[in-house]
């Protein structure tokens, strides 16, 4: 990697409250085409089988969507069967909201989570949650901002539901016992997200997700929801008419399978960061391996925007062992500017995330980045400048940033941090309607695993809003649809069709999906747990 050496770049750097933007910023479309990873031609393929046949998809994701299943009928012989009304898959914010609403509506709920309840990207969310509550702001402005930032590729009907839900989502969260930062009059404090027209993000320090997850997890643990920790789903099941009717759970401890037959299933499995698309570091949780997309696609659900991902502009670039760790957009909201190795400002920091990321990649590609070694480069995030403009703000409003600085041995009050885009969010996902229902009857999908709300780019605070807004919607609807007498015959029959299609299309079928755990964890040759399934000899 070319660029200006760290020590030299440091001599060009000077903390300042603000600087003018000297260079003219490139137009967004042009910049994205040239530098955003979504537009790298070699990273896209066209899907060969399934409901999205012919659609453009990221190569690594396509491999998994068209992978072979981990199980076949023979594996399920003798497996025990558990019955419930609603099965929620995933234990993050979206799953909790869905589960709580379904339980309150009188449904029996099982929540199966791959790791522990609350182990999710939700707990790591920092920036906040969007809700138009200030004078001069309206749900319409929230809608317009969301659609515009998504390059008008989002589904306006879904976004409309979400923005109208937003204030009540905040009230519901307070009723779950979640705190927010308040001003001296007890009003919710708001800050502005990049690419938006009003101060609309409410937050709790830079621990918004942690605070939300603490409250929601406690609510779930104190409800009648039956939580199954360390219970990854390896396949969905359906009835004879193709209605989703449950899931196959793998037990990590003894490698046995359990079948959960459910009247309705809610997928809330989160994103794909741990696939490390295009080799990027990620800000995501250990379990973010895109399992829900694979499970839903196999059952015939339609997906969308599979070639659109969010690279958050400010991932930590250095030190190595923390590379990819997120620095919240709240830091830029608070006024921090981005500087290249020459100490120059090169982008309006509060443009949309895709624009700012592409601008950083441009500086690094054109040799104006700050270089640490052959593999590592980035640009400065001028945190000392924010502190100058507003002494004490870092410690008071952004404690997680200060703690991250401690871990790097860098005091952000005095020294700028080196940042580089990090794989952050899956913009697309399972196609849903306003109740979170997918194109497969009985299968609901909420949160990051669903698609259509964020178009091709998400604004800060809309993810935490989406998970609660649509989590509640899906939970209610799924409970309502669970009054039937249950399914007659529940099988994994869809797999034979899948395998036939894969074979006809000449797919390699060497890879097995869903991925479940990142490669680095070496799941298949697990010394302590014997592995998920012993390899066939």
């Amino acid at each position: 990697m070319t660029g200006i050496l760290y020590s030299e770049a440091l001599t060009h750097y000077q903390a300042a409250k603000s600087r003018d933007l000297k260079k003219s910023d490139m137009a967004t479309d042009e910049l994205l085409q040239a530098f955003h990873p979504d537009y790298r031609e070699d990273s896209l393929v066209s899907l060969s089988v399934g409901s999205n046949q012919g659609d453009s998809c990221h190569r690594q994701l396509a491999e998994l969507l068209q992978s072979d299943a981990r199980i076949d009928e023979a594996d399920l012989a003798g497996a025990s069967i558990v019955k419930t009304d609603v099965l929620v898959i995933g234990g993050g914010g979206a799953g909790c909201a869905a589960g709580l609403m379904a339980e309150q509506a009188g449904a029996r709920v099982i929540m199966a989570t791959k790791l522990r309840l609350g182990d999710s990207n939700t707990v790591m969310a920092e920036g906040g949650i969007q809700a138009s509550i200030e004078r001069g702001d309206t749900p319409q402005m929230h809608l317009d901002d969301s659609l515009k930032a998504g390059h008008y590729r989002g589904d306006p009907k879904l976004v409309a539901k979400m923005v109208m839900d937003a204030p009540d989502v905040i009230r519901w969260l307070i009723q779950q016992g979640m705190q927010f930062d308040l001003d001296e009059f007890g009003d919710l404090m708001t800050r502005r997200a990049g690419g938006t027209s009003a101060d609309r993000v409410v937050y709790y320090r830079d621990y918004t997700g942690l605070e939300m997850m603490r409250a929601l997890r406690e609510s779930v643990r104190n409800s009648k929801i039956d939580v199954w920790d360390y219970s990854p789903v390896v396949e969905l099941m359906s009835n004879e008419s193709g209605h989703c009717a449950g899931a196959v759970i793998s037990n990590l401890k003894d490698c046995s399978y359990v079948l959960i037959e459910a009247q309705t299933v809610i997928l809330a499995t989160g994103g794909i960061g741990r696939m490390h698309l295009n080799g990027f570091p990620t800000s995501n949780h250990f379990g973010a391996t895109g399992d829900g997309l694979v499970l839903a696609y196999r059952l015939g659900a339609k997906l969308r925007d599979l070639d659109s991902f969010q690279y958050h502009p400010t991932g930590l670039a250095y030190p190595q062992h923390l590379a990819g760790t997120l620095i919240t957009e709240g830091v830029r909201s608070a006024g921090a500017q981005l500087l290249n190795g020459l100490g120059e400002r090169f982008v309006d920091e509060l443009k949309t995330r895709d624009h700012v990321s592409a601008a950083i990649l441009k500086e690094c590609a054109e040799g104006r980045g700050v270089r640490v070694d052959e593999k590592t480069a980035g640009v400065w995030l001028d945190t000392p400048g924010v502190e100058r403009a507003n002494p004490g703000i870092l410690a008071k409003r952004l404690p997680k940033l200060v703690e991250l600085g401690n871990k790097c041995g860098i005091n952000p009050v005095e020294m700028p941090l080196l940042v580089y885009p990090t794989l952050h969010y899956q913009n697309g996902g399972v196609v849903i309607d306003e109740h979170g229902q997918s194109t497969v009857p009985g299968l609901y999908c909420v949160g990051e695993a669903s698609g259509g709300i964020h178009g091709r780019n998400r604004i800060m605070g809309n993810a935490l809003l989406e998970i609660i807004s649509f989590g509640r919607r899906a939970g209610l609807q799924a409970a309502e649809m669970s009054h039937g007498r249950g399914h007659k015959k529940v099988t994994i029959g869809h797999l034979s069709k899948l395998r036939r299609e894969l074979a006809v299309a000449g797919m390699p079928m060497e890879m097995k999906g869903p991925m479940l755990f990142p490669e680095c964890a070496k799941f298949e040759k697990d010394a302590d747990y014997q592995g998920f399934r012993r390899k066939k000899q």
Binding site: S7, R116, L143, H151, G186, N222, H321
Partner: protein, 219 residues
């Protein structure tokens, strides 16, 4: 910090550690979890956010030449020469249960609290909770404040709590101090967070003052 070169070199230095009884040689810049993976061992349980906010990776740590055993988060523990690390299993959920909706008014909170957490007033001040906390929270004081009904102040002490349950494991009286802290935070929000800007907007929505046009703007 100014001398980047030497910092890079330190990152590459190999150290010998023992993790869950396995002898491992790995670069000093790795965390205990990363070192296990680096050496080719599997680790799935007790791995979560890898950023120190989910509380999953609870470990016991003993450093070379020191008999003291500390509790830490594995993803936040950089390995050192001669260090010994043991992963702890996550405990079962606490036996304390409550629903916020069942507390009828803020006058009831203190009475309810002592019904839900009867052990809290039996704290023997052993400081095990404080010693076990990877976030250096003054847990014991939090419990004492809550027992006195000072829920807002108690909750403030637990801002950084990641619910790793280490204090729950450490407490000989089974107080579940982190859940006491969380209870304190939750009742504070439930009974006292009433933002006028939010309430005004909710009223407006209820009166049908705000409508959205799904056609939106066009590009």
């Amino acid at each position: 910090m100014a001398d980047k070169h030497s910092m890079s070199e330190m990152d590459q230095k190999l150290v010998n550690v023992k993790i869950d009884g396995k002898a491992i040689t790995a670069p000093a810049s790795l965390s205990a979890i990363q070192a296990l993976w680096y050496a080719g061992y599997s680790r799935i349980k007790s791995v979560g956010c890898l950023e120190g906010v989910c509380g999953s990776c609870r470990v016991l740590v003993r450093r070379a030449g020191n008999s003291e055993v500390r509790t830490q988060l594995g993803c936040q523990t950089l390995i050192e020469e001669g260090m010994q690390v043991m992963f702890l299993v996550f405990p079962r959920p606490t036996h304390h249960t409550y629903k916020l909706e069942e507390i009828s008014s803020s006058w009831e909170v203190q009475t309810k609290f002592h019904k839900i957490f009867p052990e809290a007033s039996r704290c023997r001040e052993c400081r095990g909770c404080n010693a076990s906390c990877p976030k250096e929270i003054d847990v014991m004081k939090g419990v004492a404040l809550a027992a006195k009904g000072r829920f807002r102040e108690a909750g403030e002490l637990f801002v950084e709590c990641v619910m790793c349950d280490l204090c729950l494991t450490a407490c000989p009286e089974l107080i579940a101090p982190n859940h006491v802290g969380l209870f304190s935070r939750r009742v504070t929000a439930y009974f006292h967070t009433r933002p006028s800007n939010l309430i005004r907007r909710l009223e407006g929505l209820q009166r049908g003052k705000f409508k959205v046009n799904v056609e939106g703007e066009t590009p």
